[in-house]
C-alpha cells in the first residue's frame, strides 16, 4: 500500500440543526484497499459519504483526494476524477433500460457530454463495455428491461454497477448488500472482493460477516466520530466497538 | 352590390364583455328595425369575439377582410385592440367605422380616410367634465385613471379645461379590481372633487368601494358618462343616485329617433340601453344612410366615403356632423342620476349642453385629403 492515502478526510463536520451528524471525522483510504466503515444506525455514515462525494457541503474540515483538495469541488467533477458513490436508497433512471444505465455511467466518466448530434448508440465500444459489466453484475439477461421490472435485489446490483462503471479510483458503497438474497450477496461480495488492488472501496455495510471477510481496514463511527480504526481482527475485539455496535450475538446464515 | 357585408369584431366574452355586447345589440337592433336590410340591401353581419386580445382581433379582421371580403368593418370597444387590428382593414382598403374607440392619435397625425369615429373623441367627456367642475366653482381635484394610453389621454383632456388645482394623480393597474389603497390616499389628500376615468368593471368596483369607504361625504365624485351608465348603475345600486357625469347622449333626449331607439331597445332586450348601445345603433344607422345615398354601389369606395362624411341621418344624439378628420362635432351634456319612477335609477340630462358643437384638439394635425 502506498504512503500517501488516496482519500484523506480531516476534521470533517456537519450539523443538522441541533444535531452534530459528523463530528471531526478523520479518515484515510489507501489506493486499492477495501476500507469498511461501520457504526450504529444514525452514526453519520451516510452523511459522511455525502460529504465526501459532494452532495452535502461540509461545515468545516477538508477532503483531499488523489493529491488535491476537493472540499469545495462540484459533485460531478469529483466523479470525473474517479470518486464515485452508490446510494443507500436505490436511485435509478425510470426512463432507461438496464443496459442504458451502465452505458450512461460509462459515458459520463468519459466526458464529452455536450455532443448533441452523433447518436450514442453508434458508439459500439461503449456499449460493448457496458454489456461486459452487465455480465459481471449477473444482469446479462435483463439488458433491455426497464428498472420497474427489476426486483429490489436486482436494482441494488445495478445501483452498485453504476458506481463501478466508469473505472473509478475510489467507490463509496453505501450498504451494497442490503436487500440482497444470499446468492446475490455472495455474488456482490465477490464482485467487491475482485476490486481489491484495482479500485479502492469505502464500504458501509451492516452485514458484519461480509465486512470482516472483505475489509483490509475497518473504521468505526459512533455519534459522528471515528472511535476506532485498524485491522479487522483488532477492531472486532475492541470492547468499545462490541458495546456500541456489534453486540455479542452470533451472526450466521 | 347585391348585399352589404359587415364584419363586426368586439369583446363579447370575459369581464369586459358588457360593453361589446351592448354595441352589438344596438347595431343589430337597427338592422332589425330596417327589416334586415341596410340602405335597401340585405345586410349580412359577421359577428365575432376578440376575447379582449389584440392578436385575436387582428386575426379576425384578417379573416373578415381577406376571406369574407366585407364592405365595412366595425365593432371594437377598446382603443388598444382597435389600433392593433385596424391596419388589417386599412391596408386592405376596407372602411372601418368605430362605434366607440376614438383615440387622439387617429384624430390627429394618424388620421385616415378609411377611418370614421361614430362615437366621440377620446378627450371630449373629460373636457366636458373639466368645464363642469369650473362651472361649479370647484378648486381642487384628484385624478384616477388606469395606466394605459386612453387613461393618460383622458386626464390630459380634463386638465385642458379645468382651471383649478390638480392635487393628486394616480395611475392604477389596468384591470385592477381593488382600490382600497388608492382610496386611502385620496382620503388623505382631501380633494373637493374626484374625477375617475375607469371604464367597465374597474369603474363599478371603484365606485362601490368609494361609497363603502365613506368618502362620498367629503368628496364629490365626478365621472365620465360611461362610468355612470346603466351597466354601472345596476351593480352599484342606490349609491349612484345624485352623481354627475358627462356624455354626448342620454336616454331622455327628446328627439324622435332617440325615443324610438330607447323604446325598441327596451322592448327587444328588456333593459335600458347604454351609451354603447346608442353608439352601435348610430353606426348601423350611418351605414344605412351611406348605402342608401350611394344607391347600393358599394364598389365605388370614394362615393361611399363621401356619403359617410356627409352623414345624412337622424342620430339618436341629436344633430352631429363629421369634422375634417372624420371625428364628430357635437354637443356634450352633464347628466345626473335620478329615479326612473319605477324604483330604479336612470340618467337625466341638463337641458343646456356644457360644451356646444365641440370638436377635438387634434384636428389641426390631421392632413386628410378631401
Amino acid at each position: 500500500m502506498t504512503h500517501v492515502p488516496l482519500l484523506q478526510v480531516t476534521g470533517l463536520n456537519k450539523r443538522f440543526g441541533g444535531l452534530q451528524a459528523t463530528d471531526r471525522v478523520d479518515l484515510q483510504v489507501a489506493a486499492g484497499e477495501i476500507h469498511a466503515l461501520i457504526g450504529p444506525n444514525g452514526a453519520g455514515k451516510t452523511t459522511l459519504v455525502a460529504q465526501i462525494a459532494g452532495q452535502l457541503a461540509s461545515d468545516s474540515g477538508t477532503v483531499h483526494f488523489d493529491g488535491s483538495d476537493i472540499t469545495r469541488m462540484a459533485t460531478h467533477l469529483r466523479a470525473r476524477r474517479g470518486l464515485v458513490r452508490s446510494f443507500q436508497v436505490t436511485r435509478l433512471f425510470k426512463s432507461m433500460t438496464v443496459l442504458e444505465h451502465l452505458a450512461l455511467a460509462l459515458q459520463a466518466a468519459g466526458g464529452r457530454t455536450f455532443s448533441a448530434w452523433r447518436p450514442v448508440r453508434a458508439d459500439t465500444a461503449l456499449f460493448g463495455r457496458a454489456e461486459g459489466l452487465l455480465a459481471r453484475l449477473g444482469l446479462a439477461d435483463k439488458s433491455g428491461w426497464g428498472i420497474e421490472q427489476l426486483s429490489h435485489g436486482e436494482q441494488r446490483a445495478l445501483e452498485v454497477g453504476m458506481a463501478l462503471a466508469g473505472s473509478p479510483k475510489l467507490v463509496l458503497l453505501d450498504e451494497p448488500l442490503a436487500g440482497m438474497g444470499l446468492q446475490e450477496s455472495e455474488a456482490m461480495s465477490s464482485l467487491i472482493d475482485g476490486l481489491r488492488g484495482e479500485v479502492a472501496v469505502l464500504l458501509i455495510e451492516h452485514d458484519v460477516d461480509a465486512v470482516f471477510r472483505l475489509a483490509d481496514t475497518v473504521s468505526v463511527l459512533v455519534n459522528g466520530h471515528v472511535v476506532a480504526s485498524g485491522r479487522p481482527e483488532d477492531v472486532r475485539r475492541d470492547s468499545a466497538v462490541v458495546d456500541a455496535y456489534l453486540g455479542t450475538g452470533q451472526e450466521a446464515q | 352590390a347585391d348585399k352589404v357585408k359587415i364584419g363586426f369584431v368586439s369583446t363579447l366574452s370575459g369581464p369586459s364583455s358588457a360593453l361589446g355586447v351592448d354595441i352589438r345589440d344596438g347595431f343589430l337592433l337597427s338592422v332589425k328595425l330596417h327589416g334586415g336590410k341596410l340602405g335597401g340591401l340585405p345586410a349580412e353581419v359577421l359577428v365575432s369575439d376578440d376575447q379582449f386580445k389584440p392578436e385575436v382581433a387582428r386575426q379576425l379582421f384578417e379573416r373578415n377582410v381577406k376571406r369574407d371580403h366585407v364592405d365595412f368593418m366595425t365593432g371594437v370597444v377598446f382603443s388598444n385592440i382597435m389600433l392593433a387590428a385596424l391596419p388589417e382593414a386599412i391596408d386592405n382598403k376596407t372602411i372601418y367605422l368605430s362605434p366607440n374607440a376614438a383615440p387622439s392619435s387617429m384624430a390627429g397625425k394618424d388620421c385616415n380616410p378609411l377611418f370614421f369615429a361614430v362615437s366621440w373623441p377620446n378627450d371630449a367627456y373629460h373636457e366636458a367634465a373639466g368645464a363642469f367642475a369650473n362651472q361649479r366653482g370647484l378648486k381642487s381635484v384628484y385624478l384616477v385613471a388606469p395606466n394605459y394610453q386612453a387613461g393618460k389621454d383622458s386626464l390630459a383632456g380634463f386638465k385642458r379645461t379645468f382651471k383649478g388645482q390638480v392635487i393628486g394623480e394616480n395611475y392604477t393597474k389596468l384591470g385592477q379590481l381593488d382600490y382600497a389603497a388608492e382610496l386611502a390616499e385620496i382620503r388623505a389628500a382631501k380633494p373637493q372633487v374626484l374625477y375617475a376615468f375607469l371604464p367597465g368593471g374597474m369603474g363599478i368596483n371603484f365606485i362601490k368601494q368609494f361609497v363603502g369607504a365613506g368618502l362620498g361625504k367629503e368628496t364629490m365624485l365626478l365621472l365620465p358618462g360611461f362610468s355612470a351608465d346603466q351597466d354601472v348603475i345596476g351593480p352599484v345600486g342606490p349609491a349612484m343616485a345624485g352623481l354627475f357625469n358627462t356624455a354626448h347622449w342620454s336616454p331622455d333626449f327628446a328627439n324622435p329617433a332617440n325615443q324610438r331607439f330607447v323604446a325598441e331597445f327596451q322592448k327587444e332586450y328588456k333593459r335600458m340601453p347604454t351609451l354603447y348601445a346608442s353608439q352601435g345603433y348610430d353606426t348601423a344607422e350611418l351605414i344605412n344612410a351611406a348605402v342608401r345615398d350611394t344607391k347600393g354601389k358599394l364598389e365605388d369606395q370614394e362615393a361611399v366615403r363621401r356619403a359617410l362624411r356627409s352623414a345624412k341621418f337622424d342620430s339618436v344624439r341629436g344633430p352631429f356632423r363629421f369634422n375634417k378628420n372624420q371625428y364628430p362635432i357635437q354637443s356634450y351634456y352633464v347628466r345626473t342620476i335620478g329615479s326612473d319612477g319605477k324604483g330604479g335609477l336612470v340618467n337625466k340630462s341638463f337641458n343646456e349642453p356644457i360644451l356646444k358643437d365641440h370638436g377635438d384638439a387634434y384636428v389641426q394635425q390631421c392632413m386628410m385629403p378631401k
Partner: protein, 305 residues
C-alpha cells in the same frame, strides 16, 4: 405621509392578505398535502361567488346565500374530486396541469351558460357603510369583517392540520398513498374531504370578495396566480406559511401601489416616476417571490425535506 394613512394602508394590506390566504390555504392543502396541482382552484372561487350571488338573490339574505354557497361549493368540489381529480393523483404534475386547465375552460363557459357573464352581489346593507375605528379614521366595515373572518379561519386551519390526527393522516396520504392505505387509512375519502374543505374556503373567499369586487366569469384566473405566489413564498403545504405569505404579498402589493409610488415621485423626475412607478407596482409581488426563492428556495416554512 401621516401615521393614520400608514395604518389604513396596513389594514388594506392585511385585508388583501387574508383574502389571499383563504384561497391559498385550500390551494396549499391540495397542492402541498395531496401533491396535486389544481389550476381549477380559481374556478371553484368563481363557482362559490356565483352561487353566493344567485342564492342571495333567491333567498333574499346574504347570510343564507353565503352559507349555501359554501355548502354547495364544498359538495361540488367533492364531486369533482371523486369523479375526476382522484384519477390524477397517481399521475405526474403535467397531467394534472392539463386536466385542471381543461376544467377552467369548462367551468368558465359552463358558469356562463348557467348564470350569464356576471351576477350582481352587494354588501348587505348593515355592513355597507364605513365605521369609525380610530379617532380620525373611518374604515369600510366590510373589509374589517374580511380581516376578522380570515383570522378565525387561519387559526382553525392551523390547529386542524398541525395538531390533529386527521392532519397527520392527510399528510401521510400525500407522502405515500399506497403505504397509508396499507396502514389502514381510507385515503380516498380523506382526500375527498380535504378537497371539499379547500372548495369551501374558496366559496368563503368568493362570498366575501364578490360584493367588493365583482362576480364575473374569469374572476378566478388572476387571483389564482397570486394565490400560487403566496403558496410558494410560504412553503408548499404549510398553513402557517400560507398565512404569512399572504400577509406579505398583500402588504407588498399595497405598499407598491402607494408608498413606493410616493417615494419615487419624491426621488425621481416626474416623467420617470410616472413610468417606473406603475411598472414597479405591478411587478413588486413577483420580485418578492424571486428574491424569496433565491434565498430560500423552499419557501418560508418548508414542509418537505
Amino acid at each position: 405621509m401621516s401615521g393614520l394613512l400608514v395604518f389604513e394602508q396596513a389594514l388594506n394590506g392585511f385585508q388583501l392578505g387574508f383574502m389571499l390566504f383563504l384561497l391559498a390555504a385550500g390551494l396549499t392543502l391540495v397542492f402541498g398535502v395531496m401533491d396535486m396541482i389544481n389550476l381549477a382552484h380559481g374556478s371553484l372561487y368563481m363557482v362559490g361567488a356565483f352561487l353566493a350571488a344567485w342564492l342571495t338573490r333567491v333567498s333574499g339574505s346574504f347570510l343564507l346565500g353565503a352559507l349555501g354557497a359554501v355548502l354547495l361549493t364544498a359538495l361540488f368540489g367533492m364531486l369533482l374530486e371523486s369523479s375526476l381529480l382522484r384519477t390524477l393523483y397517481a399521475r405526474d404534475h403535467l397531467s394534472q396541469v392539463l386536466a385542471t386547465f381543461a376544467l377552467i375552460l369548462i367551468l368558465n363557459d359552463g358558469v356562463k351558460m348557467v348564470f350569464g357573464n356576471d351576477l350582481p352581489l352587494s354588501v348587505p346593507a348593515a355592513l355597507d357603510g364605513p365605521v369609525q375605528i380610530l379617532p380620525g379614521l373611518v374604515y369600510s366595515s366590510w373589509r374589517l369583517l374580511i380581516i376578522g373572518v380570515g383570522l378565525v379561519i387561519a387559526l382553525l386551519l392551523y390547529l386542524l392540520v398541525q395538531k390533529t390526527r386527521i392532519g397527520a393522516l392527510v399528510r401521510a396520504g400525500a407522502a405515500n398513498r399506497e403505504m397509508s392505505s396499507a396502514m389502514g387509512v381510507n385515503v380516498g375519502r380523506l382526500f375527498t374531504l380535504v378537497f371539499g374543505l379547500g372548495a369551501a374556503l374558496c366559496a368563503v373567499a368568493g362570498s366575501l370578495l364578490g360584493p367588493l369586487l365583482a362576480v364575473q366569469v374569469g374572476m378566478g384566473e388572476n387571483i389564482l396566480i397570486l394565490a400560487f405566489v403566496v403558496v410558494v413564498i410560504g412553503g408548499i403545504g404549510s398553513i402557517r406559511g400560507a398565512l404569512i405569505g399572504a400577509l406579505l404579498v398583500g402588504t407588498v402589493d399595497t405598499l407598491g401601489r402607494t408608498l413606493l409610488q410616493q417615494l419615487l415621485r419624491d426621488a425621481l423626475p416626474p416623467q420617470w416616476a410616472s413610468a417606473a412607478g406603475p411598472a414597479l407596482a405591478s411587478i413588486s409581488v413577483y420580485l418578492l417571490m424571486v428574491v424569496m426563492l433565491v434565498f430560500r428556495p423552499q419557501g418560508l416554512f418548508p414542509v418537505r425535506s
